[in-house]
Symmetry: C2
Subunit: 275 residues, 2 copies
């Protein structure tokens, strides 16, 4: 028997669409409803079997027992008031946003059964066209809980992500954001800065090194501006990076081979631990 | 008929070994001789068919009509005097080093038939164990020529790399190094600095973004210390990067969404041009 009768997904893009595909594939819900601003998205999502029904209107969420907010952060915050009036009283609400502190503190005031989640899956691509059923399989999903989080909501959302093949880690929203500033948001900032620094006329000479280090600079710019601005730990992560870069720069300028080799070797060893 | 009777490769690692495999695969040489400091490397290279004969001694190069220097830069510079006394007078000499200005200026004084080359292929792996025949296929190979370069040597080396499946670009050694500072050496510096900045205890939360941006930080540290120190353009490339990063940092600190989105979007567009 499905654990949810009716799941509503607001925002049927890469993540929302992949969630629909995975939830339907695993028969976790009786029905999956998708809400999007674009009829094309709804049509495409239905065609690939990511949703059973689609709507341009928020009120389509009304009978859901699980509401998944998979739109960009600002959109979620903007719609949350309206959505809270439309859903059933006992509807569990979760999200998939890349930062958690701001969104959790705001949404748990609006939705009594809210629990935040962040699956560490995705890509530099965006939109329903790139949705795939196995996107979350083998990924880590971080569940954020606070003193106010309903245990039932937390358990159901945890169960959902486990069913989709995720390992689960539970963190506070603050811990989540501090960690993500370093392991996700900083690499994006760096990738955007790096490609910006390379003169256009040199790009024809690039090989796999530049391509890999800057792949995530193909990510959606507006979405990432929102993410970076919603994580107050980013400046601290940038400064830690700048400090490291400065050490390497000084060793290069001083032609200090021993210090340089030592700095690179410590970095190399650390990198080996994340094979 | 093979275009070279006898090719000697000094340094039978990832690049030297892959060269041996490709040269033998394409029947470009009558015989391929490998010189290494390690008997294990020679045995392994013979076993996989990267060389026909191997030796621990430099004098094995003596009858070659093409000598390929595929050892690290400092080793090449150190051995060049001895090698010049061992080779035939008309032996063509080339190298595969990642920086060119220093090595070309020194080696063309030692070898009358020297022409520098740099195939933009490789990986973060090192050693004969990772050698593969198709490593250069589809890559760009930069040939550096100076006013002193023998046209015959240049043509033969160009022909060699074309035969191995490379596109060819001819640059001065200075142009080569300036471009590589941005498209190859800077990404390595950034990758090493980035992984260094992430607290060890956060690494378990990393996803594909951090993995991709830091893949090349698994590269050999000593080799890269040598490369970075032999390219005088690195500090300039770092400073261009720092300037870009600072703009993004300021936009984040000022919570200036419009400026931040604009900076990220310009970077994203540039990145799209190197698909």
């Amino acid at each position: 028997m499905p654990i949810f009768k009716r799941v509503a997904i607001v925002g049927v893009g890469l993540i929302g669409g992949s969630l629909g595909l995975a939830i339907k594939g695993k028969k976790i819900a009786g029905k999956v409803i998708g809400v999007s601003r674009h009829q094309r998205t709804i049509n495409f999502a239905r065609k690939i079997g990511a949703i059973d029904e689609g709507s341009l209107e928020l009120k389509a969420v009304k009978d859901a027992d699980l509401l998944i907010l998979a739109a960009p952060i600002e959109t979620i915050l903007k719609l949350s008031g309206q959505l809270s009036k439309l859903i059933k009283k006992d509807c569990i609400v979760t999200d998939v946003a890349s930062t958690k502190k701001e969104i959790v503190s705001k949404l748990e005031k609006v939705f009594p059964n809210f629990v935040g989640a962040h699956p560490l899956a995705g890509s530099e691509k965006r939109g329903i066209d790139f949705a795939k059923k196995g996107l979350f399989n083998g990924s880590l999903c971080i569940i954020t809980a606070t003193g106010n989080t309903s245990l039932k909501a937390k358990n159901k959302v945890t169960f959902l992500w486990r069913k989709l093949g995720c390992r689960i880690s539970t963190l506070s929203a603050s811990e989540h954001d501090r960690i993500m500033a370093f392991v996700s948001h900083l690499p994006h900032i760096i990738a955007f800065s790096l490609i910006g620094a390379v003169p256009q006329k040199y790009l024809g000479f690039s090989a796999s090194g530049l391509r890999d280090t800057t792949r995530i600079a193909s990510s959606d710019a507006l979405l990432w501006a929102e993410i970076l601005l919603s994580n107050s730990n980013c400046p601290q992560a940038i400064e830690a990076f700048e400090k490291n870069l400065k050490q390497i720069k000084i060793a290069i300028k001083n032609k200090d081979r021993q210090v340089l080799a030592h700095l690179l070797e410590s970095a190399r060893r650390k990198r080996e631990t994340i094979q």
